[in-house]
């Protein structure tokens, strides 16, 4: 796949279709891949990479990049295309200035999961089908790919590209996943248990803003949490309330807009399952207002900007689930 992408990128650069390419760049180790913008074939030959660790969703970079002079080629995985569509819908990107090449993804790996197995001193990772061979300064290890698949890929919702100018490989289908299982599990807990669960998780938050800054739905010119006039500005949680507030407001602001790309949880240095907050909203929206997938198209009204006269009352919250 990497080779096909490289030759496609070089071709589109050469024929003038695009002036820049956004993709991923090799790092120091086998896994520390950085999103990067390439402007020449030489750079691409030297650094371009697409492998098991290129999980970053590069859509958000297109907010800035698409406003620059010259078209940019973006390699987007199926899930990334949902983000791009959502950004297009919200006029945050100039879609005409982006050339999207859809690329398939059979799931990315989570280095944290590998390390959590006690593996350290990693000098190389090699994939052989469903087995992963990891060389370390302490000797070699093997493990199953499925064991270290990143969470966002385990609960993959779609292998289908919802927007592209060109595809490499076959397009996939929207798939049904068990992504709401954990939400449901929490819903079935008692209020007290849920409270304790979330206190445990959210109290880990260090307010590094990685979740916000990586989120393709969080592209505000000026985030309310940075705006002294908003009344909720804060930089660090000085109280547990502020930990809660940041995540509630953030989830609410992306409700109906979050495509469930999973980046927030992926980047959280404290491993807080932030995506569960977004998924809770998605699940509620689906069950209360009809199935809705943000980013599936660029025209449908977002559920929170829409209504029907027959919508359920807020009291439904009091009537269902576990107290």
């Amino acid at each position: 796949m990497q080779e096909a992408m490289i030759s496609k990128a070089k071709q589109l650069l050469a024929d003038g279709t695009v002036t820049r390419v956004i993709g991923w760049k090799k790092g120091e180790f086998a896994y520390d891949i950085t999103p990067a913008i390439f402007e020449s074939s030489e750079e691409i030959d030297r650094d371009f990479v697409y492998d098991d660790f290129t999980s970053t969703n590069v859509s958000k970079y297109l907010v800035k990049e698409s406003k620059k002079e010259g078209k940019i080629l973006a390699f987007l995985k199926p899930c990334d295309t949902y983000s791009l569509n959502q950004l297009t819908k919200e006029h945050r990107v100039d879609r005409d200035n982006i050339y999207v090449v859809g690329i398939p993804s059979d799931g990315k790996l989570d280095i944290e999961k590998i390390k959590a197995k006690g593996i350290t001193g990693i000098t190389g990772v090699e994939r052989d089908g469903e087995t992963l061979k990891i060389s370390t300064v302490y000797g070699d290890e093997t493990m199953s790919v499925a064991d270290v698949m990143s969470n966002k890929c385990i609960s993959c919702k779609s292998k289908k590209h919802v927007t592209y100018d060109e595809l490499i490989g076959e397009d996939g289908e929207v798939i049904t996943s068990d992504r709401f299982d954990m939400v449901e599990k929490l819903e079935n807990m008692t209020s007290e248990e849920r409270y304790n669960f979330w206190r445990g998780e959210l109290s880990k938050c260090i307010r590094c803003n990685a979740c916000r800054n990586v989120c393709p739905a969080c592209t505000c010119e000026n985030c309310v949490f940075n705006n002294p006039d908003s009344g909720v500005e804060n930089k660090a949680a000085a109280d547990s309330f502020e930990e809660n507030m940041f995540h509630i407001i953030r989830a609410f602001h992306v409700a109906g807009r979050c495509t469930d790309c999973g980046e927030c949880s992926r980047v959280c240095p404290q491993n807080i399952p932030l995506h569960l907050l977004n998924r809770k909203f998605i699940k509620d929206i689906n069950s209360l207002y009809g199935e809705y997938q943000a980013g599936a198209d660029t025209t449908t009204k977002a559920p929170l900007n829409d209504y029907t006269t027959e919508d359920c009352e807020a009291s439904i919250v009091h009537e269902r689930g576990v107290e």
């Binding site: 790092g27 120091e28 180790f29 896994y31 520390d32 891949i33 950085t34 999103p35 990067a36 913008i37 970053t56 970079y61 280095i111 944290e112 390390k115 959590a116 350290t120 001193g121 990693i122 000098t123 370390t136 300064v137 302490y138 260090i206 307010r207 590094c208 803003n209 990685a210 916000r212 800054n213 990586v214 940075n226 804060n234 930089k235 660090a236 949680a237 000085a238 980046e263 992926r266 980047v267 240095p269 404290q270 491993n271």
Partner: protein, 339 residues
């Protein structure tokens, strides 16, 4: 050397915790480890290092500076500072141990930060030598020997026993206070462990990372480097690197109106944040490039310039594993050292 057998470590912890608050690195559910206040039954983490650094003990993420009461045109300042209680931080690695030296240079230089000093005076740091460094480790680049950690008390494990050596007066007092549990031990096996670790250190991918190209005298050369644009292009401007960093110490001072008074507190801030230098008259670092450059220039050039060549990084590798887009100081150093 004084030692205690690994099996008896819980007894040691209990004994310490009886006298003062003890913090040890312990594993949480998700496998990561963090410092927690010791309670009976708590297990010492086997991980190389904690997710958050040990700087929190002396420079917490938020802390109250003063309270104010306002009435009419009058203001009353309330000094809320209290003498800290004695505490012990056990299991600090060599890299984090060095970070205190760096933080001391900032907070204990004139004018002394009393909040930091208060905790520093009352905290005893017990370090623990590394035996299984990770690929992200590059403390040796900054002259740190993970097998010979600093700290008030240094500890080593040879798998069977934990050895103790006091480095400071405070450390000696600590060792004396638990000496009843310690016995003299043979260090043959420990020396082997150390040697083995040193060997691994030599094999680590970043073993040859050098600081030669950096330091206070390289200020303009690096500042003007064209590499910053490429290095910073995918930076998200989040504060992850800053907040997991054991040496980052930038902070903000804010007021919070509780409805019954004003609390002035300080909290960690990050030079990577877009509003870090934003003031009423404007912002001096408007682009992520400038902000990104500031962070690394500070660690690699500005700080050494003001501190006799000492760098503002201890090579703990936290930023390497936690950056959402895997950009880090090592990549910056490697890019900049190429002429």
């Amino acid at each position: 050397m004084l030692k205690i057998s690994v099996e008896k470590i819980d007894e040691l912890f209990k004994a310490i915790a009886e006298k003062q608050t003890l913090y040890i690195p312990t594993d949480r559910e998700d496998g990561a480890s963090e410092y927690k206040k010791y309670e009976d039954g708590m297990k010492l983490s086997g991980n190389l290092n904690t997710l958050r650094s040990a700087k929190d003990f002396f420079f917490p993420q938020t802390e109250n500076l003063a309270d104010f009461k306002m009435e009419g045109k009058k203001i009353e300042v309330i000094d809320i500072r209290e003498e800290a209680e004695d505490f012990v931080v056990f299991g600090v690695r060599a890299c984090d141990a060095r970070s205190f030296t760096i933080l001391d240079k900032v907070f204990l230089s004139d004018p002394v930060d009393s909040y930091y000093k208060n905790r520093r005076d009352h905290g005893t740091i017990v370090t623990m030598a590394c035996t299984k460094p990770a690929e992200t480790c590059f403390c040796q680049t900054f002259g740190i020997d993970p097998t010979e950690p600093e700290g008030d008390v240094a500890c080593w494990s040879d798998g069977e026993s934990i050895f103790f050596k006091a480095n400071t007066e405070k450390g000696q007092a600590f060792v004396d206070s638990v000496s009843g549990l310690l016995e003299d031990g043979d260090t043959t096996k420990l020396d082997e462990t150390k040697a083995k670790t040193k060997e691994i250190m030599g094999k680590l991918p970043l073993a040859n990372l050098s600081t030669e190209a950096f330091g206070g005298d390289k200020l303009m050369e690096h500042f003007k480097s064209e590499k910053w644009a490429e290095l910073s292009e995918s930076c998200l401007g989040c504060g992850t690197c800053t907040f997991v960093c054991p040496t980052c110490q930038c902070y903000d001072i804010k007021d919070f109106n509780t409805g019954n008074g004003i609390k002035r507190f300080r909290c960690w801030d990050s030079c990577m944040y877009s509003d870090f230098t934003k003031m009423a008259h404007g912002n001096i670092r408007n682009s992520q490039l400038e902000r990104f450059r500031q962070r690394f220039m500070h660690k690699l050039v500005y700080f050494p310039s003001n501190n006799n060549g000492e760098f503002g990084c201890v090579g703990c590798g936290r930023c390497m594993s936690k950056c959402p887009i895997s950009m880090n100081i090592v990549k910056v150093m490697k890019a900049l050292e190429v002429k």
